[in-house]
Amino acid sequence: MKDDNQAYWRANIRLLLILLAIWFTVSFGFGILLVDQLNQIPFFGFKLGFWWAQQGSIYVFVLLILVYSLLMQRIDRKFGVSDDEEEEQ
């Protein structure tokens, strides 16, 4: 692999790890492992742990993919490997 591509791949992996850490925290962390502790906290008529498990985690999932899509597009362009020809001109 060329040096440029290696740097691109490293930037990609770094972004992936950050986003997956958030993915794990909101679902397995807040929704499952910490659910009993968070349930002590009231949140707009919900117990907070229950809200994360049945509502909050899903909203964050959607945001994560949208953020990933945007940031990857930026990384693609920075390293000149974007497949979106029109936007580059």
Binding site: M1, N5, Y8, W9, N12, L16, L19, L20, W23, S27, F28, G31, I32, L33, V35, N39, F43, F44, G45, F46, K47, F50, W51, A53, Q54, Q55, S57, I58, Y59, F61, V62, L64, I65, L66, Y68, S69, M72, Q73, D76, G80, V81, S82, D83, D84
Partner: protein, 583 residues
């Protein structure tokens, strides 16, 4: 107009729409048949993916399961949405760049092995048929309850419709019908949910209504009232689970990585023009899915509350019509154990097993049940699958809402069935014939065989729907467990570990597959009596064992790949190529 007539109208109109689209978008080449020519807009693909993914189980069963499981239902909510994060970040863009037609295509090429390709085809066929049988069953239930057509004819009509657009249109026809089906099903799901949320809390957004105060003047929120009511009847609180943490963890993980490894979902990302579109499309797909999945817990909680309030301690002679109509088709059963003429609803089974009804009715008109009764105070048997379908009736909503739900349920079942049938036929015509056993096929011949295998697959699926083997409901765990333990790790390693070789991947897939298969078969079929937490390994139920299967797969593959021959140079070059969007 009466509900029956409205339902016929709605269903007929939606079917006419699907067939119109199918005729308009026929497929002429294998490229169009397999991946819709690779020219689908990301938003359209997002909707198609959402319809493809949300099956009869999501539309009809899930809210009912959550209604009765409470917090434990979380495993399905997070499991079936969180998988898209993994799919979007780790698989979809790279598989799109790879640019072939099927999942076995990727595995066969990446691991330079026909054996690997055939193993992948076998996984794919087992997973997809398990799934599709359930869809045809869902079609049958909707037809028999709402249109008074016997399940047999219901399934036949469903098969004919799917045949029209899957065989003629291939992926191209399916994609655009699924876009229409998504619109029908999400509308049909949200309308009753909004109505019921307004009735119970006065707030039109179900996601907010779930936490809002009930309008009965008690000052309690929906969830607090549900907790109190259920605890009063002897149930555990709705917002707390009864499964162990480790099991909830394992099931959620198995469903997530199983989702990411499901072939009919992955293949949807082969239909967009570019890598960047595959990423966007996954985001749209999850957004469209989340609309239903964040509504479902509200529907479940409202349904449970309504159910308890309208049924518990009500004399049978005064019970609502929906109770009797579902009793008529055998999905509700009542045994007046304390002989007070009132229906008592408590924890535990009312009698042993599913109800078997005697021919005669009791003097009050209820159906006599022949099952031996249990010690519990509970007198009602209720099939969880009816909650979404009965919900509009339970809440006394207008007739057109009930008709809409029927059309929505059919849209959900048909769209998923079509997607599954397509990946089955593709893997037979493309992977087994063209790439393995009959390499000389021309494009035209391959297209012909793709249509023949789609038609055959529809016939088999229809048979499974009409005459389901008793274990259909139980084998859902198979589909996700097997996808999690076999396909997902092989694809993941194929992209992210350039040193992963043929030997490692095949051993890993087979080990994950056999372990998971063996564990599920043992607890579900060989020794069902031992299917309790004290016998499970690490306290993990068969539903969650795919997580362990995936770990075994990954570990073995990594160890073996480092001890055997390195990957050929041209494959390394291919891995480098799929990691970069351009070119």
């Amino acid at each position: 107009m009466d509900v029956q007539l409205l339902t016929y109208l709605f269903v007929a109109a939606s079917f006419a729409l699907y067939i119109g689209i199918a005729i308009y978008s026929r497929a002429g080449t294998t490229d169009e048949f397999y991946v819709a020519g690779g020219g689908v807009h990301p938003v359209a693909n997002g909707m198609a993916t959402a319809a493809d993914w949300m099956s009869a189980a999501s539309f009809i069963s899930m809210a009912g399961i959550i209604a009765f499981m409470g917090y434990d239902g979380t495993v399905y909510l997070m499991g079936w949405t969180g998988g898209y994060v993994i799919l979007a970040l780790l698989l979809a863009p790279y598989l799109r760049k790879f640019g072939q037609f099927t999942v076995p295509d990727f595995i066969g090429t990446r691991y330079y092995s026909t054996t690997a390709r055939v193993v992948a085809v076998i996984c794919l066929i087992v997973i997809s048929f398990t799934y599709v049988a359930g869809q045809m069953r869902g079609v049958g239930i909707v037809f028999s309850q709402f249109l008074n057509i016997p399940i047999f004819w219901g399934v036949v009509v469903g098969m004919a419709i799917v045949f029209m657009y899957a065989v003629l249109g291939g992926m191209k026809g399916i994609t655009y019908t699924q876009v229409a089906q998504y619109c029908v099903l999400i509308f049909a799901y949200l309308v009753p949910a909004i109505f019921i949320s307004l009735l119970i809390t006065g707030i039109p957004i179900p996601q907010v209504g779930l936490g809002a105060q009930v309008t009965d003047g008690s000052g309690l929120s929906v969830l607090e009232k549900l907790d109190n009511t259920l605890v009063g009847l002897g149930f555990g609180p709705y917002t707390e689970g009864s499964k162990s943490t480790v099991d909830v963890f394992a099931i959620t993980m198995a469903l997530m990585i199983g989702t990411a490894g499901l072939p009919h979902v992955i293949v949807r990302f082969f239909t967009v023009p570019k890598v960047s579109d595959a990423r966007k499309s996954a985001g749209y797909a999850l957004l469209f899915i989340a609309l239903l999945y964040t509504t479902a817990p509200a529907v479940g909680a409202f349904a449970r509350l309504n159910f308890v309030e309208t049924v518990h301690n009500t004399p049978y002679t005064q019970i609502a019509g929906w109770f009797k109509s579902w009793e008529d088709i055998g999905l509700i059963g009542w045994e007046d154990k304390n002989e007070d003429g009132r229906i008592q609803y408590h924890p535990g089974a009312p009698f042993e097993g599913k109800p078997t009804f005697a021919d005669a009715r009791r003097p009050d008109g209820s159906r006599a049940i022949t099952n031996p009764t249990t010690q519990s105070a509970n007198e009602v048997y209720v099939d969880r699958d009816i909650m979404v379908l009965a919900n509009p009736e339970i809440a006394s909503l207008p007739g057109w809402v009930i008709a809409l739900v029927a059309a929505g349920g059919l849209a959900a079942a048909l769209s998923t069935a079509a997607g599954l049938l397509l990946v089955i036929s593709t893997s037979v015509s493309h992977d087994l014939l063209k790439k393995t056993f009959a390499r000389g096929l021309s494009d035209k011949q391959e297209l012909f065989y793709a249509r023949v295998s789609a038609a055959t697959a529809i016939a088999i699926a229809g048979y499974l729907g009409i005459d389901p083997p008793g274990f259909v409901a139980q084998v859902v765990a198979f589909a996700f467990g097997l996808a999690a333990a076999s396909l997902f790790p092989a694809i993941l390693l194929g992209i992210f570990d350039q040193r992963m070789n043929r030997e490692g991947a095949i051993t890993g897939m087979l080990a994950g597959l056999i372990f998971t298969f063996g564990y599920i078969v043992f607890f579900k079929f060989v020794e069902p009596s031992m299917n309790t937490s004290e016998h499970w390994w690490f306290g993990i139920s068969p539903e969650g064992i795919g997580t362990i299967g995936a770990i075994i797969n990954l570990t073995l593959a990594l160890v073996i790949s480092r001890l055997t021959a390195p990957v050929p140079q041209d494959v390394v070059a291919m891995v480098h190529r799929i990691r970069v969007p351009r070119g």
